[in-house]
């Protein structure tokens, strides 16, 4: 009997890395994305959906095979909106909250209520290292990701599922390059394949996964000295982001 995995945003970046590796581990993978995946490897079932329309999710889950249950679900899809909070269009911030937070919440609710999860299934929530460091210049994004971690923590203590929270730092993906400040060299970006395999190796346990040891240390500093780290983020990142016009999702 084949095992099934569900990945949101599986067509590019970190999501595509999760899809590849889950396929290699022998899973049948359903990928939810607004874009088609690059190839059509056996075992991949791509479903086209815009996750910013949360109201469309019940129908989507209802359309899944009635007796299919998932062993692994990766809530990976994410968009951002960077710039000064007051300069960013509200609709863009709504879209960030919808895709990054409301969609995973509603999808989890539908999967749980519809008994679509296997016993002891792994729920993997891709949040962000910004939950430890803050992210001035992307306040709605920071909100969505910190909300997602709180949601994951609440589920972890109350359910029989394994709940993993991932806190990636800068990744070597198109998404990260799109939202980085102008002129950012991005020399310390982690490869999405490396992070996906780090996460999937831990999928049978609950907990928090950082991208790298250095990022985990940075995250720890953010817990111990939040004001100091927020100040560094403000000087290092926000001053650059606010100097340029806002950058939002390409398609919203």
């Amino acid at each position: 009997m084949s095992r099934w995995a569900l990945v949101t945003g599986g067509s590019a970046g970190l999501g595509a890395a999760f899809v590849d590796q889950l396929l290699a581990l022998g899973y049948q993978v359903v990928s939810l994305d607004r874009d088609q995946p690059d190839g059509a490897p056996p075992g991949l079932h791509a479903v086209q959906v815009d996750l910013s329309t949360v109201a469309a999710l019940p129908e989507l889950v209802a359309a899944l095979d009635a007796d299919r249950v998932f062993d692994v679900v990766v809530f990976n899809a994410g968009i951002s909106a960077v710039g000064a909070f007051e300069d960013i269009d509200l609709r863009q911030m709504d879209a960030v909250i919808a895709v990054n937070l409301l969609a995973p919440m509603e999808l989890t609710r539908l999967l749980v209520a519809g008994a679509k999860l296997a016993r002891g299934a792994s729920l993997i929530f891709v949040a962000s290292l910004s939950n430890r460091l803050s992210y001035p210049g992307a306040a709605a994004y920071a909100a969505s990701k910190q909300g997602l971690e709180a949601f994951a923590n609440a589920l972890r203590t109350a359910s029989t599922y394994r709940v993993l929270t991932v806190l990636p730092g800068p990744l070597d993906t198109d998404h990260a390059r799109h939202y980085a400040p102008v002129g950012s060299k991005g020399c310390k970006r982690q490869s999405p394949a490396a992070l996906a395999s780090r996460v999937l190796r831990r999928r049978h346990r609950s907990g928090t996964v950082y991208g790298t040891v250095a990022q985990a240390l940075a995250g720890l500093s953010g817990l111990v000295a939040p004001s100091v780290m927020t100040g560094l983020m403000r000087r290092g990142l926000f001053t650059k982001l606010r100097a340029a016009p806002p950058v939002t999702d390409k398609r919203m």
């Binding site: 609710r109 803050s134 909100a143 969505s144 709180a150 923590n153 939040p226």
Partner: protein, 225 residues
């Protein structure tokens, strides 16, 4: 009057609990207070102070709220809602409602109020919860408050040179919220903080210097009025 200067406060959630305590305390101190809540004026409690009250649903359009709040140089967002129940018993409409009131309305309001707040060196208090790290039994409420904490931390850094944004992380407080959420708070009654004292603490703290995020626990209250 306490702080010397008369301020104009805009308060949400002023019809119940901590928001009501805030409105009473502020009115008592002689400030200008514009209060809003979800219930009709006729349903306000007898101890509601003699101040302007507007019935507005925070999950509805933001424009009327922004117009109402624009003159204020102090914004205290105390409205909040949510249920104490596992995700499988959550209702999709209630999920949407809690996220809209606890998070969406805050984003809209602060976005719309930016120009007037910046001009007046405004101060904003957001009422958060210890559930912001994730509490068993309230996944949706936790998500909304976690998101609020994330918003507050980054926005207070963005606006540091213009507008003060403070996030108050509250321990359980003796208000109607627990019963409304479907939680029997009698078993933790000994732990509950007095909403009047919480309100006074928030009002004082918002005017002073201090961290962008402040946890308010029973220990915080020791030795205070």
């Amino acid at each position: 009057m306490q702080q010397g200067r008369r301020r104009h406060y805009f308060v949400t959630g002023a019809s119940s609990g901590i928001g009501l305590s805030l409105a009473r305390s502020l009115a008592g101190q002689g400030h200008d207070v514009t209060a809003t809540g979800q219930r009709a004026p006729a349903d306000l409690s007898p101890d509601f102070p003699d101040i302007a009250y507007h019935q507005l649903d925070l999950s509805g359009p933001a424009a009327p709220l922004i117009a109402l709040a624009a003159p204020a140089d102090r914004v205290v967002l105390a409205a909040g809602t949510g249920f104490y129940r596992p995700l499988e018993h959550e209702d999709p409409a209630a999920l949407t409602q809690a996220m809209a009131v606890n998070l969406g309305s805050v984003i809209r309001l602060l976005h719309g109020l930016y120009p007037t707040l910046a001009r007046q060196a405004g101060r904003v208090a957001l009422l958060g919860s210890v559930a912001d790290k994730g509490s068993a039994g309230m996944p949706v409420y936790s998500a909304s408050k976690g998101a609020l904490a994330g918003l507050a931390r980054s926005l207070s850094a963005e606006w540091a040179d213009r507008i003060t944004v403070r996030y108050y992380r509250l321990w359980p407080t003796r208000t109607p919220m627990h019963a409304r959420a479907g939680y029997d708070a009698r078993k933790i009654d000994w732990l509950l903080m007095d909403p009047d004292r919480v309100a006074r603490f928030v009002i004082d703290h918002l005017e002073g210097g201090g961290r962008a995020s402040k946890t308010i626990s029973p220990l915080t209250m020791v030795g205070r009025r």
